[in-house]
């Protein structure tokens, strides 16, 4: 199917040597962005489900366990009495310890501290909650208790990461566009450079598809080459980052690495890039040729 080689002097234009590297760079960025977006969305998904409860009530440790129980009881009564609260649940001591652990560096230290009681509260999304009234009621019931929009900073962090995610997707789309754009322009350059040769092919009796295939085949090969180079470099970079992230185990960033199905998605990059390149080239050529006689 590749026939006797190309009728057009592609070897002579250095674009052929350059294009794969440009495509490799694009594929590299695509691989990193795709990996990043996958890790982030898994992580944020987890956090998000953690954050279903949108309020936290914190009750300072009392002298005795019984007092603790009593305080918790009072707050729970108030909460369950509030219409908009869909669910309220005391956070187990283990989880409180786990939450403090990365900060204090050691589970044992955390356990030795007189821990506050935490209550996770879920609020119905559909109705507004009068936060101030609830706050006053709880503070009256148990002096020293605080009610808190659940982890504002964490929420912000999630928001930041979501934004990063969106930026990544935009970057990904941009990469696709730039790859296609590169191929369009490389093809147009090719058409311009080889204009006379193409005209000659036509006069000799070549069909548009014959000419277009010469460009498409080349774009496919260059795209595949570039995509694979990019994938290899991308995978190497990800592996290095993964090693580093592994050392950070226990902190909440990077709880999840890349699962096998994530890697599979990455492997699609070179194929996609090559197909984008081929189709773009073919369409560009077929379009341009109709304006020639």
């Amino acid at each position: 199917m590749l026939g006797h080689g190309s009728d057009l002097p592609f070897e002579r234009d250095p674009l052929a040597r350059f294009l794969p590297w440009l495509i490799a760079f694009m594929a590299y960025l695509a691989v990193l962005a795709l990996a990043g977006v996958q890790v982030l969305s898994t992580t944020v998904g987890d956090w998000h489900s953690d954050l279903n409860g949108s309020l936290t009530v914190q009750i300072p440790a009392a002298e005795t366990a019984e007092d603790d129980q009593a305080n918790v009881g009072k707050v729970m009564d108030i909460l369950l009495d509030t219409v908009n609260v869909s669910h309220a649940e005391v956070v187990s001591e283990d989880r409180v310890v786990a939450l403090l652990e990365p900060w204090l560096g050691d589970k044992d230290i955390a356990r030795e501290l007189p821990l506050p009681q935490l209550i996770d509260v879920n609020v119905r999304q559909d109705r507004p909650l009068d936060f101030d009234i609830l706050k006053t009621r709880i503070e009256d019931a148990v002096p020293g208790a605080t009610i808190d929009n659940h982890g504002v900073w964490l929420r912000h962090l999630v928001q930041l990461i979501r934004t990063t995610e969106i930026i990544t997707v935009v970057v990904l789309a941009l990469i696709g566009l730039i790859t296609a754009g590169t191929v369009v322009f490389a093809t147009r350059t090719g058409l311009a450079i080889h204009h006379d040769a193409i005209e000659l092919l036509h006069i000799i009796g070549a069909r548009d598809s014959y000419v277009a295939w010469q460009f498409a085949r080349r774009a496919l090969l260059l795209g595949l080459k570039g995509g694979l180079i990019g994938l290899v470099f991308g995978a190497a970079t990800l592996f290095a980052l993964g090693q580093l992230a592994a050392r950070l185990q226990g902190t909440m960033l990077f709880e999840h690495g890349l699962a096998p199905h994530h890697w599979a998605v990455l492997a699609i990059v070179p194929v996609t890039v090559a197909l984008i390149a081929m189709l773009t080239a073919r369409i560009t050529v077929m379009r341009s040729l109709t304006s020639m006689l």
Partner: protein, 258 residues
């Protein structure tokens, strides 16, 4: 258009006019028929429109007015995707050769066959045979820019005839070779003509056109008229008509405009 007519006439032009973009009309009201198996010369001063007329014949231009039919198909009305089939029946020797510089002599000559999807082994046999015949046997695999002007002209001619076209259009095919070689080349065209091809040769070489007694089309001032010469070579009175001063050459197209 009937099949009979299609067989009798390779091309029929009726009141054809042509202008390039916003330029003046290069050709005006040009009418002629090319009969199958005939041999024609096309003469006229520089800038008169010989190359333009050939471009119309090899479907690289569409007429601005009039009807131009090649192999029974009106050029202006034939859909784009039907053109390749018509073009494969036409062989062209360009005034400036138009060889593909990155391809070898062999690949240049093989191009029309490959484009038409001929089997590679047939391509190889036909091309090798033809190249031997025109005397380029030793230059088969060199790139064309390393050939001399005359050698390139031979390659261009070989490429034009390799596909056994029904219509051969040659633009100044003897401009880069001396008289002796020119005669041999004309001989080649005559042989192909005898084998059934219609041949049209545009040339400045009046002595050549005069010597051979073929029908001759003459373009000047945007008009075309035909002159049948006798079968013997005869110095022609009309030759004086070409003795124009240099300013006129440059302005030939301007003349056509007024």
């Amino acid at each position: 258009m009937g099949s009979a007519e299609e067989n009798q006439f390779v091309a029929r032009f009726e009141g054809v006019a042509l202008r390039y973009e916003r330029g003046p009309e290069i050709l005006r009201d040009v009418s002629f028929d090319l009969k199958s198996d005939s041999f024609y010369f096309l003469t006229g001063p520089s800038g008169a429109g010989k190359t333009t007329l050939l471009r119309l014949l090899y479907l690289s231009l569409k007429p601005t007015r009039g009807s131009a039919a090649v192999f029974g198909h009106d050029i202006a009305k034939t859909p784009r995707d039907r053109l390749p089939d018509l073009r494969r029946k036409i062989g062209v020797v360009f005034q400036n050769f138009r060889l593909l510089e990155h391809l070898s002599v062999f690949d240049n000559v093989a191009l029309p066959l490959r484009v038409a999807g001929i089997r590679e082994e047939d391509v190889r046999r036909d091309v090798a045979e033809l190249l031997t015949w025109v005397g380029l046997k030793d230059h088969v695999s060199v790139p064309t820019p390393t050939l001399s002007g005359g050698q390139q002209q031979l390659v261009a001619i070989a490429r034009a005839v390799v596909g056994r076209p029904k219509l051969i259009l040659a633009d100044e095919p003897t401009g880069n070779v001396d008289e002796a070689v020119a005669s041999r080349l004309i001989h080649l065209f005559q042989e192909l003509n005898k084998l059934g091809a219609t041949v049209v040769i545009a040339t400045h070489n009046h002595s050549l056109a005069d010597r051979l007694g073929y029908r001759r089309f003459n373009v000047d001032g945007g008009r075309l008229w035909s002159e049948t010469t006798s079968d013997t070579a005869s110095p022609r009175a009309v030759a004086g008509g070409y003795r124009r001063d240099m300013t006129a050459i440059g302005n030939a197209s301007g003349t056509g405009a007024a």
